[in-house]
Amino acid sequence: MPHQLETRVLLEGAEDPRLATLQGYKDIVGGYATLERAYKEMEQDEVLKALEDSGLRGRGGAGFSMGKKASFLPRGDMPKYLCCNADESEPGAFKDRELMQRNPHQLVEGIAIAALASGAGHAFIFIRGEYDSQADVLDAAVAEAYGAGYLGKDILGTGRDLELVVHRGAGAYICGEETALLDALEGKRGNPRLKPPFPAVQGLYGGPTLINNVETLSNVPRIVAKGAEWFRQYGTEQSPGTKVVSISGGVRRPGNYEISLGLPTRDLIYDLAGGPLPGRRVKAIYPGGSSSPVLTAAEAMDLPYSFEAMAGAGSMLGSGSVIVADDTVSIPHMALRTARFYHHESCGKCAPCREGTNWTVKMLERVVRGEATPMDLDIISSVQENIMGNCLCVLGDSMAMPVSAMVRKFRGEFEQVMAEAAEGIDPHVVVDAPAETLGAAT
């Protein structure tokens, strides 16, 4: 039985593996009824209106209104495209994996209905190459949906067409950035493009393109079926709906939990995720994936888990992934891990990100080796400032925000670690028996 604080909507019936099949999806949650109704009975504007009224915000990071974005696509006969962003590569995020693995048809149905809303005739699921087994699940689901007439030419005899292709990436976080995703999908290196033009105007193959996250699109069938009112009963005024939250790091029960947005962060971490490991205490969290500025435990615990509360605290909800750092974690080392990730993943196209990430890594390496001075901390902060706002896309900012937050909030610890390291003390406390406290697969 799920915990009472969980609100399983997208994950409804997900404990049953049959949900991943077309028949199971129909039997367990009445799947594809909405697609049928939308394709047979609804006009584009009607679907759009339902989405706009629901206030559904993008679950991929930026939190932009999904309905509004879909409405930006120009009308007319030009080829239009829909891309489902299933690149999920931000450290701490693994919710799309769960949704695709357990409920692929919900996503397929959501894509089909969103295509109707946006006028797209060709849709793609861009899934990160590492998610090989989830891509297999999607391939099977898409094949079933084609077989049942939910995709392809003349869907359910309505004269409407939609092609859906599962496109596997090949290992590059930057491809999650929507314009880099488009380049990658066009067969190029995944470099972000200049904006404007925005994808809604000029995206894939130069045509208007709607790009949404897996979770965003998975929400679509129920919103269209049950209406905006129903959707808004969950969540807060500005963050309606439920959210699948990935929790990991120093907690007893890491995993995905679907909650009604606005749940206190404390409940999320302590009740759902089981709290810190025995004998440990929470020191800091990334509230919304590794790109979000870290919050200290004191700052975070009493905040409602919502877009607006996290923004108000100077951080962000992002993709909705909480990483918990407990008191054994050395923050400078964590900053280094974070920076290394962005350094590794920077596409290299623009100078501030390419050089800023590598310089930051080099400086943080000196910090943890004890070869830095407090002045270097100032330089690190200044370099983060120089990155922010000056890059082609926000990957650079995604490193600069958490790193500068860490230096600012834990400066004392940085100085201490630097001093200790200079004397040969390793401040990084290794967790000795990681698996013990975790539930093994059964």
Partner: protein, 855 residues
């Protein structure tokens, strides 16, 4: 095509600036005298990429700084380029770029002319906070035998790879790896091979890409730049010579949008190394190689020529307008002969030349950019005028021009073509006639598939090769009319002639049937091929060869050898000691375009000035001077005593050059069609005559017909294109025609129709030029997979190719796009020159596989 762009007004740093709508902010600022630093921005490379972030500016109303290179101006925009925020960002970008830059300026070739140095001085923080280790690469390494790459210095501005992808479209130069590990490289570390690669050294804003020919040869303060024109091919690109100690050390571009778009090919860039080759003729010589003074040489030449009054001919190739003018003076006035030509294989009569020269039919280079459709006819620009290859690609890529290619041999442009037609060697005239009929009269014939694309298009530019021959050139007028080029603004014909200054020489009177200014002559002389025959027959006795090498470059080598041997007196002007020069009784040196002073005329009518940049090696004197003195010695005073007087003599003699002054030519040249004297072209006032393409009395195929009396078109070669999916473009955009009734007759002898072509790298450019030596072409016999199969040949097999008594050895090369029934050999390849197999008619060759030699 493009509707008039609106003017907008914006404010930059408090200054009001007017700009054209759609223009990038950076460019608008520059016009308003506000400099915004850039690295990656280079409009010649197409759309901005916004990668380096050097050009960030503040725009009121937008919270984040914006890249001015990629932000189009809007009316009322208020922009700041010097605020604290902008300065901080500029400092930051410079600092970031230097994090991994080795700062090895003291040993860097770019030092002193380096945008990274300049921007660091102008916009950088002035001090460094970086103490960390920089990234390392092996340095410098060979990107190609011509270009060295130092990856540590590279700032990843994308310019060079964009050039490779978007300008030369070879897609060989790529970025590899990711993030700060990214580097510029090629597939599998193989050398970058592209006839335009030198351009990347011009556009690299740091010292990452340098020329092997220039490395460590000079510092910017040792050198001078001298602007001139490259006359190694008819493109006549504008170049600037880097000169140190009177010697050319480097050739770089001198952007002229009307001519070259700011690019040059590697021939033009690296060709200068042959100026000092040991084979260079540096003083007058007599037969056998004896050096003589100019005075003696002129006296000897004059007496030899005078003794053959009326029986002397002249063939001119590489010469300036003034030189051409003086030669025809010598011949017509001094030697009472009019057997003079400037065309390797003769050409159409003066009537056709005048019709073609009519400004209403003339396209200029820039017209290619805005053409709706481009027809490339009987030429491969890559081999004959490389810079036009880039220009045509640009029109397709940026403006969606539709390309039609109609040639004997597959061209480098095929990949971008919407329709392709292949005609058999020697059948250009037949094909052009058919095409005119298909476009104009809607007649169904072999040209119909390509005609459709052209008929639908509005503005058509026809880029045609002189190689199509005289009778096809006559047919061209009908095609031009069918395409309405004379009544369509921006449409027209653009010739790619066989020699660099062909147009200038013709207009200066180096034609058998017209004098200076294309004035028709009562007394008609002989053209090139008739001169050859007359020498053999003894009707002519002496010949003056100026900048031509018939034994290498003209068809039918055996006949030319015979002709030159038969001539009892040969005066040659030559840059190098060629086999032809060896036949000369008196040999004069020629200046190169780095040494010469004179004018040339671009195929679109643009007069350009070749200016001396380097010292003349040895005892070389100006061409005009030698010719004027020779004329004097022959008793005809041309009045030419200097380059200006030579130019004046030319413009006096050519009425439609009359109002052109040296000043008007300036650095960019001027098209005579755009001057007041254009109307002095004979027949100018006439409306272009309409030529009925379907009329039956059009010039026949006589001069090119198959002497064997065979079919008009060779087996298989009437087909448009060849195998399916053969083109590099997507198959569905290429209209293809299956290869008709071309089934080969069983048991027929293994012969194929021979087509020949000019390889861009054949001749002295690779043979006498050490840096380009590695490109020296060897003879390949190109043939289709089906013919290769029939002949039992595989790529790489050695074959003997025979025509009559003549044969050569070549390596078989199977090309999917080669039409069945035809094979191709390159001209002017030393030791295996296809010109030796030609006899002025359509030829068929026998192919025999040579036994493998075990090494």
């Amino acid at each position: 095509m493009s509707p008039e762009k609106r003017e907008v007004t914006l404010t930059i740093d408090g200054r009001e600036v007017t700009a054209t709508e759609g223009e990038m902010l950076h460019d608008a600022a520059r016009e308003g005298d506000v400099e915004i630093p850039v690295f990656c921005y280079e409009p010649k490379l197409g759309a901005p990429v916004g990668a380096c972030r050097m050009c960030l500016v503040e725009i009121e109303g937008i919270p984040k700084l914006q890249t001015s290179c990629s932000t189009p101006v809007r009316d009322g925009m208020v922009v700041h380029t010097r605020t604290e925020q902008v300065k901080t960002a500029q400092n930051a970008v410079i600092e970031f770029l230097l994090v991994n830059h080795p700062l090895d300026c003291p040993v860097c070739d770019k030092g002193g002319e380096c945008p990274l140095q300049d921007n660091t001085m102008g916009w950088g923080p002035g001090k460094s906070r970086v103490i960390d280790e920089k990234r390392h690469f092996e340095k410098p390494i060979e990107l190609s035998p011509l270009v060295a790459i130092d990856r540590e210095r590279c700032i990843l501005c994308y310019r060079c790879v964009r050039f490779s992808q978007e300008v030369s479209e070879d897609s060989q130069l790529q970025l590899l790896d990711r993030g700060d590990r990214t580097y510029v490289g090629t597939f599998d570390d193989r050398p970058y091979v592209s006839p335009f690669q030198g351009n990347i050294t011009d556009i690299c804003p740091v010292g990452a890409l340098t020329n092997y020919t220039y490395r460590f040869r000079a510092r910017p303060w040792d050198i001078e730049q001298a602007g001139s024109v490259c006359t190694l091919c008819p493109s006549q690109c504008n170049v600037s010579f880097t000169v140190r100690d009177e010697k050319v050390k480097r050739v770089i571009t001198r952007d002229n949008e009307d001519v070259d778009d700011g690019w040059i090919c590697d021939k033009g860039r690296y060709g200068f190394e042959m100026f000092n080759a040991a084979e260079r003729v540096t003083e007058p010589r007599t037969k056998g190689g004896g050096k003589v003074s100019y005075e003696d040489a002129i006296a000897k030449a004059a007496s030899g020529l005078k003794a053959r009054l009326g029986k002397v001919a002249a063939i001119v190739g590489d010469a300036s307008n003034e030189e051409g003018f003086l030669i025809q003076e010598i011949l017509r006035q001094g030697l009472h002969s009019s057997s003079i030509d400037s065309r390797p294989a003769g050409g159409p009569g003066i009537d056709t030349i005048l019709e073609l020269a009519n400004p209403a039919r003339q396209a200029k280079v820039a017209d290619i950019d805005d053409a709706d459709a481009i027809l490339v006819l009987g030429t491969d620009p890559m081999g004959s005028s490389p810079i036009l290859d880039l220009r045509i690609r640009k029109a397709i890529r940026r403006n969606g021009a539709r390309l039609v290619v109609a040639t004997e041999r597959p061209t480098a442009l095929d990949g971008g073509a919407e329709a392709i037609a292949r005609y058999a060697p020697g059948q250009a005239s037949y094909f052009v006639g058919a095409l005119a009929a298909a476009v104009g009269g809607g007649v169904e014939n072999i040209a119909t598939p390509v005609a459709e694309t052209l008929r639908e298009a509005g503005k058509v530019v026809v880029v045609w090769g002189e190689r199509i021959g005289a009778s096809a050139t006559n047919e061209l007028l009908g095609l031009a009319d069918a395409l309405n080029v004379s009544t369509t603004e921006g449409a027209g014909l653009l010739e790619i002639p066989e020699t660099a200054n062909a147009r200038g020489l013709r207009e200066a009177g180096v034609l058998p049937d017209a004098g200076p200014g294309l004035g028709a002559l009562a007394l008609q002389g002989r053209g090139t091929e008739e001169i050859r025959q007359a020498l053999i027959d003894g009707d002519l006795d002496g010949v003056i060869l100026v900048g031509v090498d018939p034994l290498r470059d003209f068809g039918d080598t055996a006949a030319w050898t015979k002709a030159l041997d038969a001539a009892s007196f040969v005066v040659a002007f030559s840059t190098f000691a060629t086999a032809t020069a060896g036949k000369a009784d008196v040999l004069f040196p020629l200046e190169t375009h780095a040494e010469k002073d004179g004018t040339v005329t671009h195929p679109d009518g643009r007069l350009q000035r070749v200016r001396p940049a380097a010292g003349r090696p040895g005892d070389i004197r100006p061409g005009w001077q030698t010719l004027a003195n020779l004329s004097l010695a022959l008793g005809h005073d041309t009045g030419v005593t200097s380059q200006p007087t030579a130019f004046a003599a030319l413009t006096n003699a050519v009425p439609f050059y009359a109002s052109i002054t040296d000043e008007a030519i300036g650095g960019r040249g001027i098209r005579w069609q755009d001057t007041a004297s254009a109307s002095s072209l004979p027949g100018f006032e006439r409306q272009p005559e309409q030529h009925d393409p379907t009329a039956s009395d059009r010039p026949g195929l006589k001069d090119e017909a198959d002497p064997s009396g065979g079919e008009i078109h060779a087996p298989g070669a009437d087909a448009t294109a060849s195998a399916p999916d053969a083109g590099a473009g997507s198959p569905d955009t290429q209209r293809e025609r299956a290869s008709g009734e071309s089934v080969p007759v069983a048991g027929a002898p293994a012969t194929l129709a021979l087509g020949t072509y000019r390889d861009i790298w054949s001749g002295p450019i690779t043979e006498l030029n050490p840096p380009l030596k590695f490109l020296k072409p060897t003879q390949h016999l190109e043939l289709s997979p089906a013919d290769a199969h029939r002949l039992g040949l595989a790529s790489g097999d050695k074959v003997r190719v025979t025509q009559g008594d003549h044969s050569l050895e070549a390596t078989a090369l199977i090309k999917e796009r080669t039409p069945e029934g035809v094979c191709f050999l390159a001209e002017a390849i030393t030791g295996a020159n296809a010109n030796g197999l030609l006899n002025g008619h359509q030829v068929r060759v026998q192919i025999e596989k040579l036994a493998e030699v075990t090494a």
